[in-house]
């Protein structure tokens, strides 16, 4: 237990976890109906897609680069899978194809990011992927998907939405992958100092590729669930998630410099974003004003994180 406390305190997730706790307490005071079990479940359900997307993105951020294409990837895969299940291909096969598309996109992004700055490369592929989605849908929206598929997005196991269970599984897998495996260790190692990683005989290319594949597969999975939840597919449905995903990871203390942060913080980041929106809805703040508040929360959280980290670094130097 002592060790656990120490680990939490030293981890970069520390401040985002504190932020989350403070936010929960404040929310309970501001909006009494925040505390209800129903609302808690709603929050987790609303957060689940963001959790899947941003946990995946964490892998890429840890290597010190960026993937701006997760929103478009989710959109494209969602559309493809919707069309497949609509043309009565079985759900597992369609899902497998969706995941494979994720792998391919990850490989392309990862290869490009080995040559160009990831930020630029994936800003470009984001448009290309979004364009593909529009082309496949021919500008149409598909409705009325088979219940065997939509069940994944709207179904419940007991009181718990299946979406939440999926999110939990993805988060746990990514946490283990990044902290308890040689691949994860090498992602951190590479992000912390790419040159030293190369001199330490780390296959750097492969590490970056793996991180991008992890990220895009998560995006692909989130895309399918998005379609299942909406019971519809639209090429633009992933768009709003693109930057939110980045925000969740960054609020969680995963720095874009690479090598610092992790899934734990990202979970906190995703929940913080979701709760802020939830509370604004509960208290009736108009949607038009919400962007302003979300933006402020992002800036403040990142500010706290950066300042405290700088102070820590100067402490013993």
């Amino acid at each position: 237990m002592e060790k656990f406390k120490q680990a939490i305190k030293e981890s970069t997730a520390f401040y985002s976890l504190i932020g989350l706790v403070v936010l929960v307490i404040l929310s309970s005071i501001i909006a009494p109906n925040f505390r209800t079990i129903n609302n808690m479940i709603t929050i987790f359900r609303q957060a689940s897609l963001l959790l899947i997307l941003s946990s995946g993105l964490t892998a890429v951020l840890l290597t010190g680069t960026m993937d701006l294409s997760v929103g478009a990837t989710a959109g494209l895969v969602g559309c493809v899978v919707a069309q497949l299940v609509k043309s009565s291909i079985s759900v597992p096969v369609a899902a497998l194809i969706g995941i494979l598309i994720g792998v391919v996109i990850g490989l392309i992004n990862g290869t490009l990011a080995g040559i160009l700055p990831g930020f630029i490369a994936t800003y470009g592929t984001n448009w290309v992927i979004a364009g593909l989605g529009i082309a496949i849908m021919r500008g149409q929206v598909i409705y009325d998907l088979p219940p065997s598929f939509t069940f994944l997005g709207v179904g419940y196991v007991g009181p718990i939405p299946i979406l939440v269970i999926f999110a939990l599984i993805v988060v746990v897998i990514l946490y283990v992958l990044l902290t308890k495996t040689t691949l994860g260790r090498r992602i951190y190692q590479y992000g912390s100092n790419p040159v030293a990683a190369e001199y330490s005989a780390v296959p750097t290319r492969r590490i970056v590729l793996s991180a991008f594949v992890i990220c895009s597969v998560c995006a692909a999975f989130a895309g399918m669930l998005m379609t299942a939840r909406l019971n519809a597919a639209d090429a633009a449905m992933g768009d709003t998630y693109g930057l939110q995903t980045v925000a969740a990871a960054v609020i969680g203390g995963t720095s874009q410099k690479g090598g610092e942060g992790g899934v734990l913080g990202t979970i906190a980041g995703a929940l913080i974003l979701t709760i802020v929106v939830n509370v604004m809805n509960l208290t009736g703040i108009p949607a038009q004003a919400q962007g302003l508040i979300i933006g402020s929360v992002i800036v403040i959280m990142v500010l706290i994180d950066t300042v405290t980290r700088k102070r820590q670094e100067n402490k013993i130097d």
């Binding site: 030293e10 902290t179 308890k180 495996t181 040689t182 691949l183 994860g184 260790r185 090498r186 951190y188 190692q189 912390s192 100092n193 040159v195 030293a196 990683a197 190369e198 001199y199 330490s200 005989a201 780390v202 296959p203 090598g259 610092e260 670094e313 013993i316 130097d317």
Partner: protein
Amino acid sequence: MGKTILEAKHITKLFPGMKALDDVDFDLQEGEVHILVGENGAGKSTLSKVLLGAYKPEGGEIFLDGQPLKLTGTKDAIEKGIVAVYQENSLVPYLNSAQNIFLNREPKTKLGLLDLKKMNDDARELLKILNCEYIDVTKVVSSLSVAEQQMVEIAKALSFSPRIIVFDEPTSTLSEREVESLFKQIRKLKAEGLGIIYVSHRMQEFPLIGDRITVLRDGKKIGCVGINECTDAELVKMMVGRDVSQVYVRNKTDFSEEALKVENFCDQDGRVKNVSFNVRKGEIVGLAGLVGAGRTETAEMIYGIRPIASGKMTVFGKEQLPKTPTSAVKMGIGLISEDRKRQGLALNESIAQNTVAVSLLKVFPNFFVNNSKINQIAEEFKEKLRIMMTSVGKKTRFLSGGNQQKVVLAKWLSQDPEILIFDEPTRGIDVGAKMEIYNLMDRMASEGKAIIMISSELPEIIGMSDRIYIMKEGEITGELKREDPDFNQEKIGELMMLGGAE
């Protein structure tokens, strides 16, 4: 010599897990240059920071002119006339000299605007005291040479009308000529009655500039001697705590089979030309040469980082060329690179994680890692290499240079390659850590490892190598064996500068 300006008694400074200063006494007289010397981590910088008000000591007292002095911070120290000139420039590169000197206390006109004329005039005045009126005070600092920047830095220190100036390793970035002119200025300040504290470990400079030397070791004061009262060897012994004659340890071993043979190595940009050499098990082979002679490049080709344009390489009888460091490591080759901060360590990762940076897949072949196992390995090497640290979970950036280098060694020892290349393994680390690294190399060779050592320090490469290849401009110009009569600095120097006889 004049009266005592500054006196520090029983200074104790604690850092988490260690005593940085332990009951240290120090005093400084008017018109004196008092040298503070010691290995890295001995406490010399800590002591000067205490005197400069940057650290608050946990115990002890400081007296200025016999009056007790309680410093609240560096600003307070400056007001009391104690200023510093740091080793790394603290100037703002994009401002000019005058702006830097009067940063944050720029003279103003009656209207409250900057009085540029007065600022520039005053800056010129200060530089004139230093005989540096040739420096244009309106030129941005980044366009000045390192030595000129240092003069600006001193001018800035002087602008506070100080009584005591602390110089922290001021010559580490200067050329010989620049050092001489710096010393001239220091002597001048000294003649004006200022007290100078001079932190350095360049022993050859001490007689040129110092009056007294205080030696620190492990945070304790070992002694204070007059400049002519002791020899270099005695001084080193005080610093290190043991005799210097034991610095290089090389127990002769029998060389067995050939471990590595390189034939006609050429790289793509002509920095390595037709290099051929070999190294046997149990042997330490030195690569000597000037910086830029192609030694590091050769090492990087063997290690698979630098592309090989042509040539053959044989590892334990098997002809193979490394394409990447990964393949080199598979062949049993390791490289301890010369730039440990950039190439050797992930400074923001923990000591434990750096220790297994290379051996990760060897220790955990089944994909999953066990962090307590990693910590256990790191603890092992902490003991074995005597790495000074509070915990293996600490970030590597917090270690001193010598201890960081030991972590790099640990990283390779945990992988345990059969052929290990040491590229400038002792650069920038103190004598004690150097000796431990020599000991380790000797032990590894006697265990049957093949070792290649690249070094620009001739005494070191002669002290440790069984054979030396000398390189010049990408080519090997000679080979000397330990038993050769001309296995000495003169011959090696000649081959380095002039090349082979043919």
